[in-house]
């Protein structure tokens, strides 16, 4: 019974993993992986020789990661704290169900919605025009692109991300609140000494996962909007691999970039997990 599933994994997961050898070859599609010439580390030279397009992609990736950790990560925690404090169960459920919904929409739909609201002929600009005010160029403005991407991620996923925090909050021992209140703790003190420690495990777990994921910054989301703002503002490592590899047929170099990215991501997860253990948390796994 395991045969079909294992076959699928071997064929589309492990075989491509081996296919990464093209990073060490001068890969020619008509010669195939076995027939192409072996060139060693030549294709990796792009990592050190300061190719401007590549440096730009790395820079954008890191900036986006940083901005998103700062703005995207805390949003669901705050939302969860507010939802958790709602006293009416029915209201809680309504709010939760509405806020979870955007997670299930495809990026095409999300980007289209943002375009309808903020684009040149969107809701906001139509309103401004009808008032005779200046229109705002938000979509397609390279300077605002990072902000736009970040707000889309917040809109789509911060509701959904509350689930884990809400589950952790419902596990908090209520007698801790009573005890701390009797000891004279104010609500903000309770938040700091009871609630947040209860969320610590989940927060660390999610930060680790985010770290391992830090070189992945919304590939589909960016590909969909790249044309409007140009590659200088929008190229990240993944889109670089796509644009130069699949569209540009520069197979070897793109594979080398992709491979290095994969290795770094694995190291980041394993490393962050070790750090979590040092701090006495379980992290993602324990061996």
């Amino acid at each position: 019974m395991a045969v079909p599933g294992i076959t699928a994994l071997l064929l589309f997961h492990y075989l491509p993993l081996l296919g990464n050898v093209i990073a060490f070859e001068d890969y020619q599609p008509f010669l195939g992986i076995l027939g192409s010439e072996w060139v060693g580390l030549e294709k990796f030279s792009i990592l050190v020789n300061g190719d401007p397009a590549f440096v730009n992609a790395v820079k954008n990736t890191l900036v986006l990661t940083l901005v998103q950790v700062i703005f995207v990560f805390p949003a669901p925690i705050m939302l969860a704290l507010m939802i958790n404090s709602l006293l009416s169960d029915r209201l809680r459920r309504v709010v939760q169900n509405v806020l979870y919904l955007p997670h299930f929409l495809s990026w095409v739909v999300v980007v289209a919605i943002f375009q309808q609201l903020l684009g040149g002929s969107g809701l906001l600009n139509s309103f401004l025009r009808s008032r005779g005010a200046e229109t705002l160029d938000i979509i397609g403005n390279p300077d605002l692109f990072i902000g736009l991407l970040t707000s889309q991620v917040v809109w789509k996923d911060s509701g959904w991300a509350t689930i884990l925090f809400l589950a952790a909050l419902s596990q908090v021992d209520q007698s801790l609140y009573e005890a701390s209140a009797i000891d004279g703790a104010s609500r903000s003190r309770q938040l700091w000494h009871v609630t947040l420690p209860a969320l610590k495990g989940v927060i660390i777990l999610l930060l680790i996962l985010r770290l391992g994921d830090s070189l992945n910054v919304g590939f589909e989301q960016i590909i969909l909007q790249q044309k409007a703002v140009g590659s200088e503002a929008s190229e990240v490592i993944d889109t670089y691999v796509f644009n130069y590899g699949i569209l540009g047929s520069d197979w070897g170099t793109s594979a080398a970039v992709g491979l290095v990215k994969g290795v770094i991501a694995t190291i980041l997860v394993v490393g962050a997990n070790k750090v979590a253990h040092v701090f006495g948390e379980d992290g993602v796994y324990r061996s």
């Binding site: 019974m1 395991a2 599933g5 699928a8 994994l9 071997l10 064929l11 589309f12 492990y14 491509p16 993993l17 296919g19 939302l79 404090s85 309504v94 709010v95 509405v98 806020l99 919904l101 299930f104 929409l105 495809s106 990026w107 095409v108 739909v109 289209a112 919605i113 309808q116 002929s121 969107g122 809701l123 600009n125 139509s126 809109w155 991300a161 689930i163 884990l164 589950a167 909050l169 419902s170 596990q171 209520q174 609140y177 209140a181 609500r187 996962l209 994921d213 992945n216 589909e220 590909i223 969909l224 691999v241 699949i246 197979w251 992709g258 994969g262 991501a265 694995t266 997860v269 993602v284």
Partner: protein, 317 residues
Amino acid sequence: MTTTATRVEPAAETTNTAGPGRRRKSSRLNRPGVPESLLKLVILGFAVLVVVVPFLGIVSTSLSSKEHLDAEGGFVLWPDAVNLEAYRSVLSGGVVTRALVVSVGVTVVGTLLSLLVTSMLAYALSRPGSFGSRPALLVVLLSLLFSPGLLPVYLTVRGLGLIDTFAALVLPVLVSGFNVIVLRSFFMGIPAEVLESARVDGAGDWQTFTRIVAPLSKAVLAVVGLFYGVGYWNAFFGALIYLNDQSRWPLTLVLRTYVLNNTQLSAGDLSAGAESLPAQPALQMAMLLVSIVPILIVYPFLQRHFTKGVITGAVKG
């Protein structure tokens, strides 16, 4: 890795639904002040509006008349009429209808295949001692740690001759290691005696699986199936790189062309008379809604099964 983060929640939801009753009573001790509660309600209300208003706009725009849309600039929050013309044009044949058929087909076939293959694998792995189950488990677990990268997967799909086939949209994402692990841990909770008695009654592995294990796991299968389903329905990138033939495009790619890139839908793209073509914004929003409705339909369903799956899981401990 993100998928892992978002997928942990079937179990998480359980504890959440179990929680509230017990949780309420103590908040009396340190009640929040009025301004604080008000601020919270305002913020949450705003968050809810930010999600709801775009949907309202999509529906309203798709129903509005051409004159109304021209006057208001394209996207409106309230319709001047209930005009179903846009839906009629979009769904009466042509590009969008074809894409809808493709999307539905890929989603239905893909989800069923994924569920079947994933649950079979999970069942085999849940019975330790069956032939080769240890190396197979390792294959699944390691697949979670390393991702092969965009380019090699593309080359593999191309090497297998799957470019421009619907199989390219299904096979590379057929099995998610994470879902295997979720189902496996659920199957492991089924008491060995139950399976033993089936075997005594003469059921083989396959019969045990279809007659005993699958019916016992309906709720968790529904949750996993819905995750696969949403994945197939929303898939964009696979279709973008594997399908050159536009007549095979799923809805997501058609949306990108006609809604995001603002390519005008002509009468030739739809099988409608040119004179009767509704306004472009109405057509675009009708298309968008057509792609959202299936999700809205399964959504309440998903919620219910979540809770059910959770309770079953909780009882089993």
